[in-house]
């Protein structure tokens, strides 16, 4: 078990810099998710911590030991790959035991530990099989067993679930989370799936173009996005954005654009100067049906009703622009109907047009 410290990490390929002065601390036992769109540098970060990718500048320490120039095998980390990366010519048992055999662990000990991990992951009956005779989910379990058996100081997961179907993904996600609750090994998990990140993480590190855009608990990231990018990236259905004009009126501020008129308490936001334009973000899941005269009610005409099972997403035409909200009472709604929906003022996000940063004051 160990804490991780990355100081001033730089990575460049040739002259092209992909990561610039990144600093990150991960506490012992923490489950951190690197989240971001493809090409944001999250996998590169993970691979640098693993030692599979050379670090152009800066230092990485694992458990207060500087590992920047150590061979991957000497860092005490275990990794689960997106492609599983099993040794195709070896049986499941040989795959799992490979690392221990390289460490010259006695055979009796290896057998005992293989049985133990195989038991934990339900692989007992597959030990003699070759990877090609296993399903994707079983292969992923073997990869996890191979990582677990080494009792590493740090677990690294590189998009381990993206090749699995949705149902299996959910199941393995829960298993990984449970495994972490049991073993409490510090874990870094890379994904581009925001739902996966939200459900599994103690802390999300959201990356964009080689830099950390925001880090915090899933709730912090979801409820208090620091930038428009984070707000847009997190949450499904995606947030509605509208450019609004600011008009101050005593303690309240009105944000307006066409038939959209939203009142927010002025003391919760900074930099809302009268007459400026800001970008307002409204989460579909934080809005619901309202009566036409209600506070912050937005009138529009229904374009589409999407049935999502227990909820429905309603796509609405508001002044010629599409907006969406989510409601449980979607079954009575029909395309073409006029509708009004409203949002609680505490869930309104306001972003600067220039910097994209949230104007909401920190609590």
């Amino acid at each position: 078990m160990a804490n991780i410290r990355c100081v001033n990490i730089r990575k460049s390929y040739g002259g092209h810099s992909v990561i610039e002065n990144l600093n990150l601390d991960i506490a012992d036992h923490e489950f951190v998710v690197f989240l971001g769109p493809s090409g944001c540098g999250k996998s590169t970060m993970l691979r640098m911590i693993a030692g599979l990718e050379e670090i152009s500048g800066g230092t990485v320490s694992i458990g207060d030991r500087d590992v920047t120039h150590l061979h991957p095998g000497e860092r005490g980390v275990a990794m689960v790959f997106q492609s599983y990366a099993l040794y195709p010519h070896m049986t499941v048992e040989e795959n799992i035991a490979f690392g221990l055999r390289r460490q010259k662990v006695p055979q009796a000990e290896i057998t005992r530990r293989v049985q133990h991990v195989a038991g934990l992951l339900g692989l007992e009956s597959f030990l003699e099989r070759k990877p090609k005779n296993l399903s994707g989910g079983q292969q992923q379990r073997v990869a996890m067993a191979r990582a677990m058996i080494k009792t590493p100081k740090l677990f690294l997961f590189d998009e381990p679930l993206s090749n699995l179907d949705a149902k299996l993904r959910e199941k393995l996600r829960t298993e990984i989370r449970k495994m972490h609750l049991d073993l409490k090994t510090t874990t870094i998990f890379v994904t581009h799936d925001q739902l996966e990140a939200m459900t599994i993480a103690d802390r999300i590190v959201l990356m964009r173009a080689g830099a950390i855009e925001q880090q915090g608990t899933p709730s912090e990231i979801f409820d208090r996005p620091a930038t428009r990018f984070v707000a847009d990236f997190i949450g499904s259905p995606a947030m509605n954005f509208r450019d609004c004009m600011v008009s101050r009126n005593g303690d309240t501020v009105e944000l307006s654009a066409g038939s959209l008129r939203l009142q927010v308490p002025s003391d919760e936001f900074g930099g809302l100067a009268d007459g400026t334009t800001v970008e307002v973000g409204l989460r579909p899941s934080k809005m619901d049906l309202a009566a036409p005269g209600d506070l912050n009610a937005i009138p529009g005409k229904i374009i589409l009703v999407e049935n999502m099972g227990s909820d429905g997403q309603i796509i609405v035409d508001v002044d010629g622009q599409e907006m969406s909200f989510v409601t449980k009472a979607f079954r009575s709604l029909e395309p073409g109907q006029p509708v009004s929906f409203a949002i609680d003022p505490t869930s309104i996000h306001v972003f600067s047009k220039e910097t994209g940063r949230s104007l909401r004051k920190a609590v």
Binding site: A50, G51, L52, H71, P72, G73, E74, V77, A78, M79, F81, S83, Y84, A85, L86, Y87, P88, H89, M90, F98, G99, R102, Q103, R146, K150
Partner: protein, 290 residues
């Protein structure tokens, strides 16, 4: 035209030509092998299995059989060992794309040489009085080594030329095969704390088992046809130290003896023997590689 008929009409001419050519020569050899045909006399008679009987008690034939077997094993194993070691070495040490391609290009050159040309080059290199190798050896204080005239060195000296041609060629192929392997299992092995040689011994080379077996078979067939190389370099000598079966058949049938029937019997026996041996090897490999 449907698919089956298309296949039939496109494949038949090729197979027909092949079959006719192979069948005619085999039938001819079979026919001669049961006669007592010799270039010295115009007439010949049926002799039954006499030629085959004599072969089994011919010490020169048994010697040639042994030389052929040694030649097969040394050249096949030698080429693959050289190719494995060199390709792994280049894979691990040469990271520059251009340098790798340059090396590959250089390694392809020997196999592009006609056998006879390679044989002459090396005969010159091996020469005790003029050769570069003996010059270098003399600088280190070794006397002139009779590479091709010393019966205990001659076969190995010729084998080195064969390995020089084919081992380097296979190095290029194996290097390209290593490059096509997925990176992930190699990285997983690094994380499993495997040393570089362990990664190759336990992960990459076993993953290349099937193509390596194919290379071995190709080389085994190719090594059977080394007549020109050996003929130019040593002519089967000194004595019979490098006389393989095809060389002996040539010497007996065409070059010196003129005993066509005896040589034909030898070729037929060689054909039967290689067919049996290769079938057995092929079966064994198929079972083992599953």
């Amino acid at each position: 035209m449907n698919n089956r008929r298309f296949l039939f009409w496109t494949l038949t001419p090729g197979f027909a030509v092949l079959a006719i050519l192979a069948l005619i020569s085999i039938a001819g050899a079979l026919y001669f092998s049961v006669m007592d045909r010799s270039l010295r006399y115009p007439d010949y008679h049926f002799a039954g299995l006499y030629n085959y009987q004599r072969l089994l008690s011919d010490r020169r034939f048994l010697n040639a059989l042994q030389i052929s077997a040694t030649w097969e094993i040394v050249t096949v194993v030698g080429s693959l060992v050289v190719a494995t070691l060199l390709s792994v070495l280049i894979f691990e040490t040469v990271k520059s794309f251009w340098l790798r391609n340059l090396i590959c290009f250089a390694f392809l050159a020997p196999v592009l040489l006609p056998r006879v040309a390679a044989a002459f080059i090396w005969r010159f290199l091996y020469s005790p009085s003029l050769g570069l190798i003996n010059y270098l050896a003399s600088l280190l204080g070794f006397g002139p080594v009779e590479f091709l005239a010393n019966p205990s060195l001659a076969l190995m000296s010729v084998a080195i030329v064969d390995i020089w041609q084919w081992g380097l060629f296979f190095t290029v192929i194996m290097l390209k095969l290593l490059e096509t392997l997925p990176k992930d299992p190699i990285e997983a092995a690094q994380l499993d704390n495997a040393k570089t040689w362990e990664i190759h011994a336990f992960v990459t080379l076993p993953m290349l088992k099937a193509p390596i077996i194919s290379l071995a078979l190709v080389k085994a067939v190719e090594s059977l046809r080394s007549f020109d190389l050996i003929y130019v370099m040593t002519g089967g000598g000194p004595g019979t130290a490098t006389e393989t079966l095809d060389l002996y058949a040539y010497q007996a049938g065409i070059n010196l003896g003129g005993r066509i029937s005896y040589a034909s019997a030898m070729s037929i026996l060689l054909l039967v023997l290689t067919t049996i041996v290769f079938t057995l090897i092929w079966r064994g490999i198929r079972k083992w590689s599953v």
